[in-house]
Assembly symmetry: C2
Homo-oligomer: 314 residues x 2
Amino acid sequence: MDLVIVGSVATDRLHLPSGVVHEAIGGSCVYAAIAATKFRIKVGIVGAIGGDERATKIVEFLSKFPIDLTGLERLDGQTFFWEGRYFEDMNQRETLSLSLGVFADFVPKIPDQYKSAKVLFLANISPQIQMELIQSVNADIVVLDTMDHWISSDKENLLSALKAVDLLIINDQEARLLGGSNSLIRSSNKIKEYLKGGNLIVKKGEHGSILFTPERMCFVPAYPLENPVDPTGAGDSFAGALLGAWLRLGLGRECLGAAMFYATATASFCVEGVGPTKLAECGLEEIEKRADVLNSLICRRWDSNPHVREDTWS
Amino acid sequence: MDLVIVGSVATDRLHLPSGVVHEAIGGSCVYAAIAATKFRIKVGIVGAIGGDERATKIVEFLSKFPIDLTGLERLDGQTFFWEGRYFEDMNQRETLSLSLGVFADFVPKIPDQYKSAKVLFLANISPQIQMELIQSVNADIVVLDTMDHWISSDKENLLSALKAVDLLIINDQEARLLGGSNSLIRSSNKIKEYLKGGNLIVKKGEHGSILFTPERMCFVPAYPLENPVDPTGAGDSFAGALLGAWLRLGLGRECLGAAMFYATATASFCVEGVGPTKLAECGLEEIEKRADVLNSLICRRWDSNPHVREDTWS
């Protein structure tokens, strides 16, 4: 197995500026896994669904993708349900209702064939469980996500887990909270010290992403979209695509920058559709095209006019 | 005269997370003019101060810089005073009090020696006055700033003024308001149509800036600061430095991207000090160094690992 993803599998009710979507398939595991499959690697997921009709729909949907579902447990109870409302600019959202269902007491079990995974991606779940999973899987690379809830309520266990993490992927609000400073740069440099690998990617939504490694800091803008539809799962798609691309590029730290272009391009498709609909449809060729466009949008100091030379300047 | 700047000259009271600064010299004209002088061009300002002690302090301060003050009128009354409070993350602020003083009924008069300016920069002032000034000065290039107040209250005159504008420099909130969409990209593409030159720069504070021209779109990140102190005047410093650098680079559209690096670097010094103190001190050599660093922080798709080639990928 190339990539094992542990996280939530859910049904979402989305209040978008364009209207309400009553039942969209969601969850960090779902978005990340679909995004990762674009890069033609072997992906397996570990998650839980209930015994309800929503679970049946989720399995039906996931079966369309080359995702190993051995680790998807069907338990007695309800499937995780999240209802959220986005504000007009879609940069902020609020949770309207949340029903954890079978996810509340879920203890992930790793199938044997997942235990030698090259990359283990622990999407948002309790730090205690993240630690146990890191110990139980013999992965070459451990990648973590977390959320404000765990940073506030269980920082001690989270910091313990981070000591075994090669790459942490979080958003800017989480980075400020975890790093303890309103300066994103100061917070990120602090977080690097917590990590085994010293590699951190901060996702800033429409403002792009920043890679911090022990050697460098590097900015990648978001893919410019005229008509964003639904940001749900964009961050998870980014992470899944990043790991898919990174696996294909050989998992060297020096390839993380290139992988971010694929992650950004893939996440942009996710935002263009309701739930995972557009993400599900897009192919590697389209992703490559957007990664090319993105590259052309990045300004270098002199590349807009190579005839202006620094030595003729001051 | 290379650059004539029309705008506010003020005293600010700043409530920063680090404490209250009771009297800082401020105003769009002041920040933009000081930033522009870094690039060793001829700068003249047009603005108004009162007959109070604050005015005396401002003149004393401005006299330290190679700025032509012929257009700075001393009128009977109080100098423009602004009091504002920044929120913890310094990305947002609120106005606590505002006393326009002599700026309220100020009708800018352009000194004769300014009338053949290469670049006319109209910082935030009423669109009606901006239009009159564009007509009265025979500038090669007209650059405009505006604010939400004018976009909401006098859009008609603003749109008329924009028809004579080569380059518009505004922030992202203003761009969304002026372009009529929550999508910054859609708004910006709409705004381009309003402009004579089709050139727009959108400033996004800590998230960098975006250049839109008829041919291209181009992103430049903000300079990463561990310890931002006071964002007051950062946008005006960005604009002043941009125009100073652009003048030195020959005013070709193809040089706007390079000029944005100098603008970003100069604005970063502004943010590191209270009011214009750090901006006042920094020199071109330091600015160049930061422009170099900024350039090294920008990730290209393959430059982190040039051995990974696109044709070996899919």
